[in-house]
Symmetry: C2
Subunit: 244 residues, 2 copies
Protein backbone atom coordinates (compact mmCIF):
# COMPACT_ATOMS: atom_id res chain seq x y z
CA UNK A 1 0.00 0.00 0.00
CA UNK A 2 2.92 2.39 0.62
CA UNK A 3 2.52 5.46 2.79
CA UNK A 4 -0.96 6.83 3.15
CA UNK A 5 -3.11 8.62 5.68
CA UNK A 6 -1.88 10.36 8.77
CA UNK A 7 -0.15 9.59 12.05
CA UNK A 8 0.22 11.47 15.31
CA UNK A 9 3.07 11.81 17.77
CA UNK A 10 2.00 13.40 21.05
CA UNK A 11 5.05 14.78 22.86
CA UNK A 12 4.19 14.99 26.49
CA UNK A 13 5.69 13.99 29.79
CA UNK A 14 2.64 15.67 31.27
CA UNK A 15 0.37 13.16 29.49
CA UNK A 16 2.44 10.10 30.40
CA UNK A 17 2.54 11.22 34.04
CA UNK A 18 -1.20 11.94 33.99
CA UNK A 19 -0.77 15.59 34.94
CA UNK A 20 -3.08 16.39 32.07
CA UNK A 21 -5.28 14.28 29.85
CA UNK A 22 -4.41 14.59 26.18
CA UNK A 23 -7.17 16.33 24.23
CA UNK A 24 -5.20 16.80 21.01
CA UNK A 25 -5.04 13.15 19.95
CA UNK A 26 -8.81 12.63 20.20
CA UNK A 27 -9.46 15.96 18.46
CA UNK A 28 -7.10 15.00 15.65
CA UNK A 29 -8.84 11.62 15.27
CA UNK A 30 -12.23 13.32 14.93
CA UNK A 31 -11.03 15.99 12.52
CA UNK A 32 -9.23 13.46 10.31
CA UNK A 33 -12.29 11.21 10.21
CA UNK A 34 -14.44 14.18 9.17
CA UNK A 35 -11.96 14.94 6.39
CA UNK A 36 -11.80 11.30 5.29
CA UNK A 37 -8.08 10.94 6.06
CA UNK A 38 -7.32 7.67 7.87
CA UNK A 39 -5.37 7.95 11.12
CA UNK A 40 -2.90 5.06 11.04
CA UNK A 41 -1.26 5.32 14.44
CA UNK A 42 -0.90 7.62 17.40
CA UNK A 43 1.91 7.49 19.90
CA UNK A 44 2.66 9.40 23.06
CA UNK A 45 6.30 9.81 23.97
CA UNK A 46 8.26 11.76 26.60
CA UNK A 47 9.95 15.11 25.89
CA UNK A 48 13.17 13.30 24.96
CA UNK A 49 14.93 13.68 21.66
CA UNK A 50 15.67 9.98 21.10
CA UNK A 51 12.11 8.91 21.82
CA UNK A 52 10.69 11.58 19.51
CA UNK A 53 13.13 10.80 16.69
CA UNK A 54 12.18 7.13 16.82
CA UNK A 55 8.43 7.78 16.94
CA UNK A 56 8.61 10.29 14.08
CA UNK A 57 10.72 7.97 11.93
CA UNK A 58 8.37 5.02 12.43
CA UNK A 59 5.26 7.08 11.80
CA UNK A 60 6.71 8.40 8.56
CA UNK A 61 7.25 4.85 7.31
CA UNK A 62 3.49 4.28 7.17
CA UNK A 63 1.84 7.70 6.99
CA UNK A 64 1.95 10.47 4.43
CA UNK A 65 1.14 13.23 6.93
CA UNK A 66 2.47 13.39 10.46
CA UNK A 67 1.17 15.70 13.16
CA UNK A 68 3.24 16.34 16.24
CA UNK A 69 1.69 17.90 19.32
CA UNK A 70 3.77 19.75 21.89
CA UNK A 71 7.39 20.47 22.65
CA UNK A 72 7.33 23.76 20.70
CA UNK A 73 8.58 26.65 22.81
CA UNK A 74 11.59 28.33 24.37
CA UNK A 75 12.31 26.12 27.41
CA UNK A 76 14.68 23.19 27.93
CA UNK A 77 11.88 20.63 27.50
CA UNK A 78 10.90 21.95 24.06
CA UNK A 79 12.91 19.60 21.86
CA UNK A 80 10.46 18.78 19.07
CA UNK A 81 12.13 20.96 16.43
CA UNK A 82 15.52 19.36 17.03
CA UNK A 83 14.07 15.85 17.09
CA UNK A 84 12.04 16.28 13.90
CA UNK A 85 15.08 17.76 12.14
CA UNK A 86 17.13 14.73 13.18
CA UNK A 87 14.43 12.33 11.99
CA UNK A 88 14.29 14.13 8.63
CA UNK A 89 18.08 14.36 8.30
CA UNK A 90 17.98 18.15 8.20
CA UNK A 91 19.81 20.87 10.08
CA UNK A 92 18.11 23.21 12.51
CA UNK A 93 18.22 26.80 11.24
CA UNK A 94 16.84 30.11 12.46
CA UNK A 95 14.14 31.36 10.10
CA UNK A 96 14.45 35.14 9.60
CA UNK A 97 10.73 35.61 8.96
CA UNK A 98 9.82 33.84 12.20
CA UNK A 99 12.49 35.79 14.07
CA UNK A 100 10.69 38.96 12.98
CA UNK A 101 7.38 37.57 14.27
CA UNK A 102 8.95 36.60 17.60
CA UNK A 103 10.56 40.03 18.06
CA UNK A 104 7.30 41.75 17.16
CA UNK A 105 5.35 39.54 19.57
CA UNK A 106 7.60 39.87 22.63
CA UNK A 107 8.68 43.50 22.06
CA UNK A 108 11.91 45.20 23.11
CA UNK A 109 12.13 43.54 26.56
CA UNK A 110 12.26 40.07 24.97
CA UNK A 111 14.46 37.47 26.67
CA UNK A 112 16.99 36.08 24.17
CA UNK A 113 15.65 32.53 24.72
CA UNK A 114 12.47 33.55 22.91
CA UNK A 115 14.43 33.34 19.66
CA UNK A 116 14.42 29.56 20.02
CA UNK A 117 10.88 29.88 18.69
CA UNK A 118 12.40 30.96 15.37
CA UNK A 119 14.31 27.70 14.95
CA UNK A 120 13.04 25.05 12.55
CA UNK A 121 14.28 22.18 10.38
CA UNK A 122 15.98 23.56 7.24
CA UNK A 123 13.47 23.81 4.40
CA UNK A 124 10.48 24.37 6.69
CA UNK A 125 7.43 26.05 5.18
CA UNK A 126 5.26 28.36 7.22
CA UNK A 127 1.50 28.32 7.35
CA UNK A 128 -0.18 31.35 8.88
CA UNK A 129 -3.30 30.87 11.00
CA UNK A 130 -5.74 33.69 11.54
CA UNK A 131 -5.70 34.98 15.10
CA UNK A 132 -2.46 33.21 16.13
CA UNK A 133 0.80 35.06 15.81
CA UNK A 134 2.96 31.93 15.61
CA UNK A 135 2.81 30.03 12.29
CA UNK A 136 2.53 26.27 11.75
CA UNK A 137 5.92 24.79 10.88
CA UNK A 138 5.65 22.26 8.04
CA UNK A 139 8.51 20.17 6.73
CA UNK A 140 8.38 17.03 4.54
CA UNK A 141 4.79 16.21 5.48
CA UNK A 142 5.45 16.78 9.21
CA UNK A 143 3.27 19.46 10.82
CA UNK A 144 4.68 20.67 14.14
CA UNK A 145 1.74 21.83 16.21
CA UNK A 146 1.78 23.33 19.71
CA UNK A 147 0.55 21.25 22.63
CA UNK A 148 -1.80 23.87 24.09
CA UNK A 149 -5.22 22.55 23.00
CA UNK A 150 -6.74 25.86 21.85
CA UNK A 151 -3.72 26.58 19.64
CA UNK A 152 -3.48 22.98 18.45
CA UNK A 153 -7.11 22.98 17.30
CA UNK A 154 -6.86 26.29 15.44
CA UNK A 155 -3.67 25.36 13.68
CA UNK A 156 -4.91 21.86 12.86
CA UNK A 157 -7.95 23.32 11.12
CA UNK A 158 -5.68 25.54 9.03
CA UNK A 159 -3.61 22.52 7.98
CA UNK A 160 -6.57 20.26 7.22
CA UNK A 161 -8.19 22.89 5.02
CA UNK A 162 -5.22 22.35 2.70
CA UNK A 163 -5.21 18.55 2.55
CA UNK A 164 -7.24 16.38 0.18
CA UNK A 165 -9.65 13.85 1.68
CA UNK A 166 -12.76 11.77 1.05
CA UNK A 167 -15.28 11.31 3.87
CA UNK A 168 -15.93 7.70 4.90
CA UNK A 169 -19.32 6.03 4.69
CA UNK A 170 -20.22 4.35 7.99
CA UNK A 171 -23.18 2.19 9.07
CA UNK A 172 -23.70 0.75 12.56
CA UNK A 173 -25.80 -2.32 13.39
CA UNK A 174 -27.01 -2.83 16.97
CA UNK A 175 -27.52 -6.50 17.82
CA UNK A 176 -29.18 -8.58 20.49
CA UNK A 177 -26.83 -11.53 19.77
CA UNK A 178 -23.50 -11.99 21.54
CA UNK A 179 -20.11 -11.99 19.85
CA UNK A 180 -19.58 -15.78 19.62
CA UNK A 181 -22.96 -16.09 17.84
CA UNK A 182 -22.07 -13.58 15.15
CA UNK A 183 -18.38 -14.43 14.79
CA UNK A 184 -18.81 -16.93 11.88
CA UNK A 185 -20.76 -14.39 9.81
CA UNK A 186 -18.25 -11.61 10.47
CA UNK A 187 -15.36 -13.96 9.70
CA UNK A 188 -16.77 -14.77 6.25
CA UNK A 189 -17.66 -11.17 5.50
CA UNK A 190 -14.18 -9.93 6.50
CA UNK A 191 -12.60 -12.60 4.28
CA UNK A 192 -14.87 -11.87 1.28
CA UNK A 193 -14.72 -8.08 1.50
CA UNK A 194 -11.23 -7.29 2.81
CA UNK A 195 -11.43 -3.61 1.83
CA UNK A 196 -14.44 -2.97 4.05
CA UNK A 197 -13.51 -2.24 7.67
CA UNK A 198 -15.76 -4.28 9.98
CA UNK A 199 -15.72 -3.59 13.70
CA UNK A 200 -17.39 -5.56 16.50
CA UNK A 201 -17.86 -3.86 19.87
CA UNK A 202 -19.51 -5.74 22.74
CA UNK A 203 -21.56 -3.70 25.21
CA UNK A 204 -21.67 -5.13 28.73
CA UNK A 205 -23.95 -2.50 30.23
CA UNK A 206 -27.46 -3.99 30.01
CA UNK A 207 -29.00 -0.50 30.07
CA UNK A 208 -27.60 0.09 26.58
CA UNK A 209 -30.33 -2.17 25.19
CA UNK A 210 -28.04 -4.10 22.81
CA UNK A 211 -25.19 -6.57 23.17
CA UNK A 212 -22.92 -5.92 20.20
CA UNK A 213 -22.47 -2.98 17.86
CA UNK A 214 -21.11 -3.90 14.42
CA UNK A 215 -19.69 -1.11 12.26
CA UNK A 216 -19.09 -1.22 8.51
CA UNK A 217 -16.89 1.40 6.84
CA UNK A 218 -15.41 2.32 3.49
CA UNK A 219 -14.94 5.39 1.32
CA UNK A 220 -17.35 3.78 -1.18
CA UNK A 221 -20.92 3.90 0.06
CA UNK A 222 -21.97 1.11 -2.34
CA UNK A 223 -19.50 -1.32 -0.77
CA UNK A 224 -20.76 -0.46 2.69
CA UNK A 225 -24.36 -1.04 1.64
CA UNK A 226 -23.46 -4.38 0.05
CA UNK A 227 -21.81 -5.49 3.30
CA UNK A 228 -24.79 -4.33 5.38
CA UNK A 229 -27.11 -6.26 3.02
CA UNK A 230 -25.09 -9.42 3.61
CA UNK A 231 -25.23 -8.93 7.36
CA UNK A 232 -29.02 -8.47 7.20
CA UNK A 233 -29.34 -11.79 5.37
CA UNK A 234 -26.75 -13.81 7.29
CA UNK A 235 -26.89 -12.72 10.93
CA UNK A 236 -29.13 -14.84 13.21
CA UNK A 237 -32.77 -14.04 12.46
CA UNK A 238 -34.17 -11.24 14.61
CA UNK A 239 -30.78 -10.32 16.05
CA UNK A 240 -30.59 -6.88 14.40
CA UNK A 241 -32.28 -4.37 16.67
CA UNK A 242 -31.58 -1.34 14.52
CA UNK A 243 -29.28 0.01 11.82
CA UNK A 244 -27.94 3.56 11.81
Amino acid sequence: MGRYGAAAVIIGNEVLTAKIQDLNGPLLARRLRDRGIPLRSMSTVPDEIDAIVEAVSRAREIARYLFTSGGIGPTHDDVTVRAVALALGRNVVRLPSVEQMVRAHYGPSMAPQALRLAEAPEGTELLRTEGIWYPVLHCDGVYLLPGVPQLFGHQLDAVLAQLPGTPLALRSLYLSADEPQIAPVLDRLAADMPLVAIGSYPEFDRRAGYRVKVTVENVERALVEEAVGRLERELPQGSILRIE
Copy 2:
Protein backbone atom coordinates in the same frame (compact mmCIF):
# COMPACT_ATOMS: atom_id res chain seq x y z
CA MET B 1 19.23 2.34 31.87
CA GLY B 2 17.90 -0.87 30.30
CA ARG B 3 14.23 -1.72 30.44
CA TYR B 4 12.22 -0.10 33.18
CA GLY B 5 8.74 1.19 33.85
CA ALA B 6 5.69 0.41 31.77
CA ALA B 7 4.33 0.98 28.28
CA ALA B 8 0.87 0.76 26.78
CA VAL B 9 -0.40 -0.43 23.42
CA ILE B 10 -4.01 0.53 22.79
CA ILE B 11 -5.48 -1.70 20.09
CA GLY B 12 -8.37 0.12 18.56
CA ASN B 13 -9.64 1.00 15.13
CA GLU B 14 -12.53 2.55 17.00
CA VAL B 15 -10.15 4.99 18.72
CA LEU B 16 -8.22 5.88 15.56
CA THR B 17 -11.48 6.50 13.70
CA ALA B 18 -12.85 8.54 16.62
CA LYS B 19 -15.85 6.29 17.14
CA ILE B 20 -14.96 6.25 20.79
CA GLN B 21 -12.50 8.23 22.88
CA ASP B 22 -9.94 6.05 24.60
CA LEU B 23 -10.40 6.06 28.38
CA ASN B 24 -8.00 3.23 29.14
CA GLY B 25 -4.76 5.02 28.28
CA PRO B 26 -5.49 8.00 30.56
CA LEU B 27 -6.67 5.64 33.34
CA LEU B 28 -3.49 3.59 33.03
CA ALA B 29 -1.37 6.78 33.18
CA ARG B 30 -3.09 7.86 36.42
CA ARG B 31 -2.90 4.44 38.05
CA LEU B 32 0.77 3.99 37.17
CA ARG B 33 1.61 7.44 38.50
CA ASP B 34 -0.17 6.61 41.76
CA ARG B 35 1.85 3.40 42.00
CA GLY B 36 5.11 5.19 41.16
CA ILE B 37 5.71 3.20 37.97
CA PRO B 38 6.83 5.44 35.09
CA LEU B 39 4.84 5.18 31.87
CA ARG B 40 7.44 5.32 29.10
CA SER B 41 5.26 5.34 26.00
CA MET B 42 1.75 4.77 24.82
CA SER B 43 0.75 3.91 21.29
CA THR B 44 -2.57 3.40 19.59
CA VAL B 45 -2.61 1.02 16.64
CA PRO B 46 -5.30 -0.54 14.42
CA ASP B 47 -6.66 -4.07 14.95
CA GLU B 48 -4.02 -5.44 12.57
CA ILE B 49 -1.53 -8.12 13.48
CA ASP B 50 1.52 -6.49 11.89
CA ALA B 51 0.88 -3.14 13.53
CA ILE B 52 0.37 -4.75 16.95
CA VAL B 53 3.44 -6.97 16.66
CA GLU B 54 5.60 -3.96 15.84
CA ALA B 55 4.18 -1.80 18.63
CA VAL B 56 4.53 -4.60 21.20
CA SER B 57 8.09 -5.36 20.14
CA ARG B 58 9.18 -1.73 20.36
CA ALA B 59 7.49 -1.17 23.69
CA ARG B 60 9.22 -4.22 25.14
CA GLU B 61 12.61 -2.80 24.17
CA ILE B 62 12.20 0.04 26.66
CA ALA B 63 9.63 -1.09 29.23
CA ARG B 64 9.58 -3.88 31.77
CA TYR B 65 5.78 -4.15 31.87
CA LEU B 66 3.51 -3.80 28.88
CA PHE B 67 -0.24 -3.36 29.03
CA THR B 68 -2.33 -4.00 25.95
CA SER B 69 -5.91 -2.77 25.75
CA GLY B 70 -8.45 -4.36 23.44
CA GLY B 71 -8.61 -6.98 20.73
CA ILE B 72 -9.48 -9.75 23.20
CA GLY B 73 -12.59 -11.64 22.14
CA PRO B 74 -14.08 -14.15 19.75
CA THR B 75 -14.55 -12.07 16.56
CA HIS B 76 -12.36 -11.61 13.47
CA ASP B 77 -11.03 -8.26 14.71
CA ASP B 78 -9.74 -9.74 18.00
CA VAL B 79 -6.14 -10.43 17.03
CA THR B 80 -4.23 -9.33 20.12
CA VAL B 81 -3.45 -12.84 21.38
CA ARG B 82 -1.98 -13.89 18.04
CA ALA B 83 -0.01 -10.65 17.68
CA VAL B 84 1.44 -10.77 21.19
CA ALA B 85 2.40 -14.42 20.69
CA LEU B 86 4.23 -13.49 17.46
CA ALA B 87 6.01 -10.59 19.17
CA LEU B 88 7.11 -12.93 21.98
CA GLY B 89 8.10 -15.74 19.61
CA ARG B 90 5.60 -18.12 21.19
CA ASN B 91 2.89 -20.38 19.81
CA VAL B 92 -0.79 -19.79 20.42
CA VAL B 93 -2.29 -22.60 22.49
CA ARG B 94 -5.69 -23.32 23.97
CA LEU B 95 -5.53 -23.18 27.76
CA PRO B 96 -7.65 -25.98 29.29
CA SER B 97 -8.42 -24.03 32.46
CA VAL B 98 -9.71 -21.06 30.46
CA GLU B 99 -11.68 -23.39 28.19
CA GLN B 100 -13.47 -24.59 31.32
CA MET B 101 -14.26 -21.00 32.33
CA VAL B 102 -15.56 -20.18 28.84
CA ARG B 103 -17.78 -23.27 28.76
CA ALA B 104 -19.12 -22.50 32.22
CA HIS B 105 -19.79 -18.88 31.27
CA TYR B 106 -21.61 -19.47 27.98
CA GLY B 107 -23.38 -22.70 28.94
CA PRO B 108 -24.47 -25.56 26.71
CA SER B 109 -25.73 -23.34 23.83
CA MET B 110 -22.25 -21.83 23.39
CA ALA B 111 -21.17 -21.01 19.83
CA PRO B 112 -17.87 -22.77 19.04
CA GLN B 113 -16.18 -19.41 18.30
CA ALA B 114 -16.39 -18.61 22.01
CA LEU B 115 -13.49 -21.02 22.51
CA ARG B 116 -11.21 -18.47 20.86
CA LEU B 117 -11.34 -16.80 24.27
CA ALA B 118 -9.40 -19.79 25.63
CA GLU B 119 -6.43 -19.15 23.30
CA ALA B 120 -3.28 -17.51 24.65
CA PRO B 121 0.47 -17.35 24.01
CA GLU B 122 2.14 -20.55 25.24
CA GLY B 123 3.35 -20.11 28.80
CA THR B 124 0.66 -17.57 29.72
CA GLU B 125 -0.12 -17.18 33.42
CA LEU B 126 -3.63 -16.41 34.58
CA LEU B 127 -4.59 -13.79 37.11
CA ARG B 128 -8.12 -13.99 38.49
CA THR B 129 -10.02 -10.79 39.21
CA GLU B 130 -12.88 -10.74 41.67
CA GLY B 131 -16.23 -10.22 39.97
CA ILE B 132 -14.98 -10.87 36.41
CA TRP B 133 -15.21 -14.39 35.03
CA TYR B 134 -12.46 -13.93 32.45
CA PRO B 135 -8.89 -13.88 33.84
CA VAL B 136 -6.05 -11.52 32.94
CA LEU B 137 -3.63 -13.18 30.54
CA HIS B 138 -0.01 -12.48 31.47
CA CYS B 139 3.01 -13.60 29.48
CA ASP B 140 6.62 -12.34 29.70
CA GLY B 141 5.66 -9.04 31.32
CA VAL B 142 2.82 -8.43 28.83
CA TYR B 143 -0.63 -8.05 30.40
CA LEU B 144 -3.44 -8.51 27.87
CA LEU B 145 -6.38 -6.46 29.10
CA PRO B 146 -9.81 -6.12 27.52
CA GLY B 147 -10.75 -2.86 25.81
CA VAL B 148 -14.09 -2.38 27.57
CA PRO B 149 -13.26 0.35 30.11
CA GLN B 150 -15.04 -1.16 33.14
CA LEU B 151 -13.26 -4.49 32.64
CA PHE B 152 -9.95 -2.82 31.83
CA GLY B 153 -10.03 -0.82 35.05
CA HIS B 154 -10.90 -3.80 37.26
CA GLN B 155 -8.26 -6.03 35.75
CA LEU B 156 -5.64 -3.28 35.79
CA ASP B 157 -6.13 -2.82 39.52
CA ALA B 158 -5.62 -6.55 40.03
CA VAL B 159 -2.36 -6.42 38.09
CA LEU B 160 -1.02 -3.29 39.76
CA ALA B 161 -1.63 -4.70 43.21
CA GLN B 162 1.07 -7.23 42.34
CA LEU B 163 3.73 -4.88 40.97
CA PRO B 164 6.36 -3.03 43.00
CA GLY B 165 6.45 0.77 42.80
CA THR B 166 7.54 3.94 44.56
CA PRO B 167 5.27 6.99 44.44
CA LEU B 168 6.83 10.10 42.91
CA ALA B 169 7.27 13.37 44.78
CA LEU B 170 5.87 16.29 42.78
CA ARG B 171 5.85 20.08 43.37
CA SER B 172 4.25 22.64 41.08
CA LEU B 173 5.23 26.33 40.87
CA TYR B 174 2.77 28.82 39.35
CA LEU B 175 4.53 31.81 37.82
CA SER B 176 3.65 35.28 36.57
CA ALA B 177 6.70 35.27 34.25
CA ASP B 178 6.59 33.98 30.67
CA GLU B 179 8.61 31.06 29.32
CA PRO B 180 11.45 33.04 27.65
CA GLN B 181 12.08 34.83 30.98
CA ILE B 182 12.48 31.62 32.95
CA ALA B 183 14.20 29.54 30.27
CA PRO B 184 17.81 30.32 31.37
CA VAL B 185 17.07 29.24 34.96
CA LEU B 186 15.35 26.04 33.85
CA ASP B 187 18.18 25.29 31.41
CA ARG B 188 20.78 25.45 34.19
CA LEU B 189 18.67 23.47 36.63
CA ALA B 190 17.99 20.74 34.07
CA ALA B 191 21.72 20.54 33.28
CA ASP B 192 22.77 20.46 36.96
CA MET B 193 20.10 18.02 38.17
CA PRO B 194 19.50 15.66 35.25
CA LEU B 195 17.66 13.09 37.39
CA VAL B 196 14.96 15.56 38.37
CA ALA B 197 12.16 15.85 35.81
CA ILE B 198 11.37 19.52 35.21
CA GLY B 199 8.32 20.46 33.17
CA SER B 200 7.29 23.88 31.90
CA TYR B 201 3.67 24.42 30.82
CA PRO B 202 2.52 27.80 29.51
CA GLU B 203 -1.08 28.82 30.21
CA PHE B 204 -2.60 31.13 27.63
CA ASP B 205 -5.96 31.59 29.31
CA ARG B 206 -5.67 34.79 31.34
CA ARG B 207 -8.43 33.65 33.70
CA ALA B 208 -6.05 30.99 35.05
CA GLY B 209 -4.21 33.75 36.94
CA TYR B 210 -0.71 32.53 36.05
CA ARG B 211 1.41 32.32 32.91
CA VAL B 212 3.60 29.25 33.37
CA LYS B 213 3.37 26.19 35.60
CA VAL B 214 6.71 24.55 36.38
CA THR B 215 6.69 21.01 37.76
CA VAL B 216 9.54 19.26 39.57
CA GLU B 217 9.46 15.50 40.04
CA ASN B 218 11.54 12.64 41.37
CA VAL B 219 11.09 9.56 43.52
CA GLU B 220 13.36 11.27 46.12
CA ARG B 221 11.54 14.06 47.90
CA ALA B 222 14.84 15.63 49.04
CA LEU B 223 15.99 16.11 45.44
CA VAL B 224 12.68 17.71 44.55
CA GLU B 225 12.92 20.12 47.49
CA GLU B 226 16.49 21.01 46.54
CA ALA B 227 15.38 21.86 43.00
CA VAL B 228 12.42 23.89 44.27
CA GLY B 229 14.80 25.80 46.58
CA ARG B 230 17.00 26.67 43.62
CA LEU B 231 14.02 27.87 41.63
CA GLU B 232 12.91 30.06 44.54
CA ARG B 233 16.34 31.71 44.61
CA GLU B 234 16.99 31.96 40.88
CA LEU B 235 13.69 32.74 39.18
CA PRO B 236 12.96 36.46 38.57
CA GLN B 237 12.06 38.13 41.86
CA GLY B 238 8.33 38.11 42.60
CA SER B 239 7.54 35.78 39.71
CA ILE B 240 6.43 32.83 41.89
CA LEU B 241 2.74 33.24 42.64
CA ARG B 242 2.38 30.02 44.62
CA ILE B 243 3.91 26.59 45.14
CA GLU B 244 1.84 23.42 45.53
